[in-house]
Amino acid sequence: MVCQINTHAAYLDPILIRHRPSDLLQILILAQDHYGYIHSDAIDHISAALKLPRSKIEGVAGFYSFLHLQPPGAYRVLFSDNITDRMSGSVALMESMCSQLWVEPGKLSEDNLLSIDTTSCTGMCDQGPAMLVNGLAINRLTQDRANAICELIREQVPVSAWPAVFFSIEDNIQRRDILLDSHFQSGSSLAALLLRGTDETLQQIKASLLRGRGGAGFSSGAKWELCRQAAGDARFVVCNADEGEPGTFKDRVLLNNFADMVFEGMTLCARIIGAKKGFLYLRGEYRYLLNHLQAVLQRRRQQGLLGNDILGHADFNFDIDIHLGAGAYICGEESALIESLEGKRGTPRNRPPFPVTHGYLNMPTVVNNVETFAAASLIALNGGAWYAGIGTGASSGTKILSVSGDCDCPGIYEYPYGVTVAQVLDDCGARDTQAVQISGPSGVCIAPDEFGRRIAFEDIPTAGSFMVFDKTRDMFEVARNFVHFFKHESCGFCTPCRVGTSLLSNMMDKLANGYGSPYDFAEIEKLNALLQSTSHCGLGHSACNPVLETIAKFRPAYDTRLAHKDFVPSFDLDRALSQARQMTGRNDTGAHLERSQD
């Protein structure tokens, strides 16, 4: 026993020495990296070292999908379960791997070697079907590739020795505009800031009319100014790279190619609000980017663009830490993200107060999306008026879309705001389009008669997800996939969303299984209303959107599911007798129940 604890101390102590108790999530991630899972004795050791109760540590570990308190097997295969992955064949591939490797989905194999399960969208929709193996992304799965992976697992080849080509990730930048085509020089925006002065730079950000790219579209200049004015001993800049909204992958490409612009935007913000410390919260699914991003940060320190005395200014000190997420979409919500940064369960806070006044460690904090910070760098360089002149009246600048689904050229498309849905569809080579889901499951579903509408805050606002469905797709199944996503990602804090997303999933499954009637339809509508009005945060508010939207626009996809005139049970009564039939060996008519008689 003592020896056990020492085993854990050996790898935990070097981790613990580099972290504070508020870094608990990062500590747990590193501990798991080392040991494969978070051992009960490791929790004892962390608990003693950080003086944190064990219940708190288990509570945090239990929240995040990618953390394990039990041995998860040497190979952990997670299939990305976005609708686009399904459309490109992920379900059959997963079944095939499960049967080849003799393992039930979601369970540890009998020899404890592996597990195969699904996970929420991994942000590779332009190159799916995608999976994570021990946290690393493998895309463009085919039957051949799946077979090869089965073989590697069977031979117990360590993942580090798998063919590198499996892990290659494409950028697929299909259309560039001011941001993606900017040939940004690192340090140039900071130089412009120092030349222009802090106040004037803030004025330029305000004049640019830049609005947040993470979804809500709050004025970035106003946010920075509020934070700057808020009382507090310290201030923080947080870059939201949680990018969890299914179908969104533009932040991944930005961080891969334009990390300097993003970090520079954060540094500008720090100068303006007076922050010394910043965080990039990187979703666990993108951890393959970690080394690259650390290297960029290191280079920027060497270039005098981060750290103390930035560009020689004695009062300009700022540095950035990268925090990893661990499989929790809700941590993209800014207050849940801050809780997670503080090493807690990612539960959204009560708001107000908002992060601008009470954020990280209760101090004034700016949280912005990756793309927002990149745009801020451009604005500092080229001026607010220039930026405001691009796009539409209420939506200045450009928007980067993540295009996926039924089209010839999925990938990243940058457009000035105001581009029509039809234009995007044309550019990406979409044909026979039935629908476009814009801004992910929480967004809107657009039917062909609306393809003339525009991507802009005043028409269709979006965080960037643009999923295309052609006429062969079943829009009911699209909505059902999204509803299951919300159920899986509900944080569980508030009653309506915790229970309601499960009820909604069950009802959609009931329809899918052929037990639907107008009764269930009315039930779904009642749930919609409840979730929208009583949920604690945006996740619950929008959890019904996919159903509402598809009911409104693709009603026939539902009508075929309403097989019954009146209520029937959500389960098969005859099947409910099958265990008893088996145990008694009976098969007479009395041992069966006919389906409901309507």
Partner: protein, 183 residues
């Protein structure tokens, strides 16, 4: 309740996976039963000898659904009764019988017929006369649509009286603080 000229309402009652406690409570309305009988007549019920439910105005069911026969009876009631009332905790949320729901039926049958002390060579009865158990016990409203619920284990005679008289008088049934309870 003062218009006896109207035709009497037909009422059917039954107990599925229940203990007849709710029926007993129904009888506890005592002398008011005579008053009630001026307005209603019983169809299928433990109080009559009618074996199958005919067209009725009101059906009252106690107990949850735990086997195939329960399903048949429940469907018969739903098909014949204009208003169906679930009465008592078991009908409403499965009650005591549903406490087996976290076990698999196989485990339950094994335990009852094989493993239990004193059973020699126990076997699971397979007589076609016996209804087969469902893998889970269900409240009534999970199997058919239910119009009204009278909670309680059992509900008080007053609560039953109140709901029935409300219905007879064409009011929405409503139980006040003193009449609504779950135990």
């Amino acid at each position: 309740m003062n218009e006896p000229a109207q035709p009497k309402l037909r009422v059917a009652t039954t107990s599925l996976a229940g203990c007849f406690g709710c029926h007993t409570s129904f009888l506890d309305i005592d002398e008011r039963l005579l008053e009630l009988l001026k307005h209603i007549e019983f169809d299928r019920s433990p109080l009559t000898d009618i074996k199958h439910c005919g067209p009725c105005d009101i059906g009252i069911i106690e107990g949850g659904v735990c086997n195939a026969e329960n399903v048949h009876v429940l469907r018969e009631f739903r098909a014949n009764c204009k208003i169906l009332i679930a009465i008592g905790a078991c009908a409403i949320n499965g009650g005591l019988p549903a406490q087996r729901n976290h076990l698999s039926l196989a485990e339950v049958l094994e335990e009852v017929y094989h493993a239990q002390h004193g059973l020699v060579d126990g076997f699971i009865p397979n007589d076609p006369e016996l209804p087969l158990p469902l893998d889970k016990v269900h409240p009534l409203h999970e199997v058919v649509k239910i119009d009204y619920f009278i909670p309680g284990c059992p509900p008080s005679a007053d609560a039953i009286w109140k709901v029935l008289t409300d219905l007879l008088d064409g009011r929405e049934p409503e139980l006040g603080h003193d009449l609504i309870h779950y135990d």
